[in-house]
Structure formats: C-alpha cells, structure tokens
Amino acid sequence: MTDERLSDADDTSTASSERMERLAAVRPRLLSFARLHLRDNALAEDAVQEALIAAIEKDASFAGRSGYETWVFGILKYKILDLMRYQKRQGRLQSLDDENDDEAIDRQFRQSGRWQHDARPEHWGNPDKVFENEHFWQVFDACMIALPDNTARVFSLRELMGLSTEEICRELDIRENNCWVILHRARLRLRACLQQGWLKEETA
C-alpha cells in the first residue's frame, strides 16, 4: 500500500487534472439528473455545484478506485436529498394530500377495468435500444415535467435515486401504502405519456 502511494506520488497532479476534465465532461448529465429530481434550474445548479466542489475536495479519498463518475453521482444524490430535506424543513414541499386526482389514470381504463382501446400498452422494443435512443430521454424529461410535483418527487426518489419505499416514507413522512399508490399512479401516467410522445412519433 505504502509503496504504491510513493510510486504514484508523481502522477498525482496529472491524475487529478484528468479527473477535473472528467468532471467537466459529466457535468451536463449531472445537471439534467438534478433537474429531473428538483424541478428547478437554480436549485439543480446549486446541487451540482456543491457536488463538484465536494468531489474536488475529497479527491484524495477517492484514491483511484474505478467508477469515478459513479462516485461523483453518489455525492450528487446525497446533495439532492440534503436540499430536499432543507426544502421540507422550510415548509416548501407541498403536502402530499392534494394530489388525489385519479382522472389521468381513469382515462386509461374503461369502467369495467379493462384498457381503453387507445391507451393499450404497446411493445416498446428491446430495452437496450430504448435507452440508447436520445429521443426517448427527451420525451421522458418532458413526461416527468408533466407529472404533478409530488408524484414526480416520489417516482424520482424511488426509480432515479434508488431509495426503497420505506426510506421514502421516512423522508417524506408518508405511509408506505400511500407511497405505493403514488408510484402506481406515476408509472401509469409515465407509461402513457412515453407511449404517446415517443413511440407514436418514432413509428410515424
């Protein structure tokens, strides 16, 4: 360990300047992630800025492990959660009770509980191909913005930030059951929106 450290000492500055370049390159993606979750440009800029500063400050503790971007991403996720907690303490997070509007979902089903003809889920193709498609991500972005704030927040905590529903309940002071209902709603709305905006245009 010590030997490695010594022989690496000369490379330290080159290594960190290389990492600075990587930070600059990954910044736009971090920003779009933060925007997806925080739904506010200025806040997203703050979160990314803080994450980048923390990454530079803690550069030594990273110590060349693989997956530098993943490590920075982890810092960003932590900063985003921090900002969200701050918003919550300030009372700036809407309460979760005011979004019981199921209309958007009911539109997808007939009275009988079967799919409406024009809402029937269609084949999206191979997931790898879907994720490689730049347009898919653009439509996803737009569909997230179209979601009500709280629905989007819970979805993002679960599916983008990777928290468990139990952790989400703790963060937002909601019951797990409520969380599952919100996620069901979010997924149905997103799938409909994605199918409409992306698949329809792709095949048009």
């Binding site: 990954v26 530098y68 971007e69 993943t70 799919w115 879907v130 983008l160 997924r187």
Partner: protein
C-alpha cells in the same frame, strides 16, 4: 376476477416489494391471458431500470477505461 386496472396495481407493487403468494398467483394468471398487460409489465420494468441506466451511462461521456458495473443497492 382481477381486471387490467387491478393487475397494473400489482405490476407496480412488484417493483417496490415482494408480492405475496396470492398476489403473484393472480398476477401471473392475468398476465397469461392479457397481452396488453404483459406489455405494461415490461414498460414498468423498463421504468424501474432508468436510474441504473442513467448511472451506467454517466461514464460514457468521458470513459476510456470501461465503465464499472453499477452497484446494485436498489431494492425490489
């Protein structure tokens, strides 16, 4: 019998917690008969992979040493 709307509730739940035996059984039964719901099930799974995918793609902007596999610390 469970209709599509109820089936989507279980498909969604499946991404967040382990279904009970009874839930799994009724979902499987419904999916075996309903092509539209099978597609919906795939769509929900795809949505569930978004975060990991986002993370895996991060390194692509700069990476020349191969991205490491994302840590699977997600539940469900």
């Amino acid at each position: 019998m469970m209709m599509c709307k109820g089936a989507t509730r279980l498909m969604s739940l499946k991404q967040d917690r382990r279904l009970t035996f009874q839930e799994r059984l009724s979902l499987r039964f419904h999916l075996s008969m309903c092509g539209a719901c099978r597609q919906c099930d795939r769509q929900f799974s795809l949505l569930h992979q978004l975060g990991e995918r986002f993370e895996a793609d991060l390194g692509d902007a700069t990476d020349d040493q191969g991205a490491s596999p994302p840590d699977s610390d997600r539940q469900g």
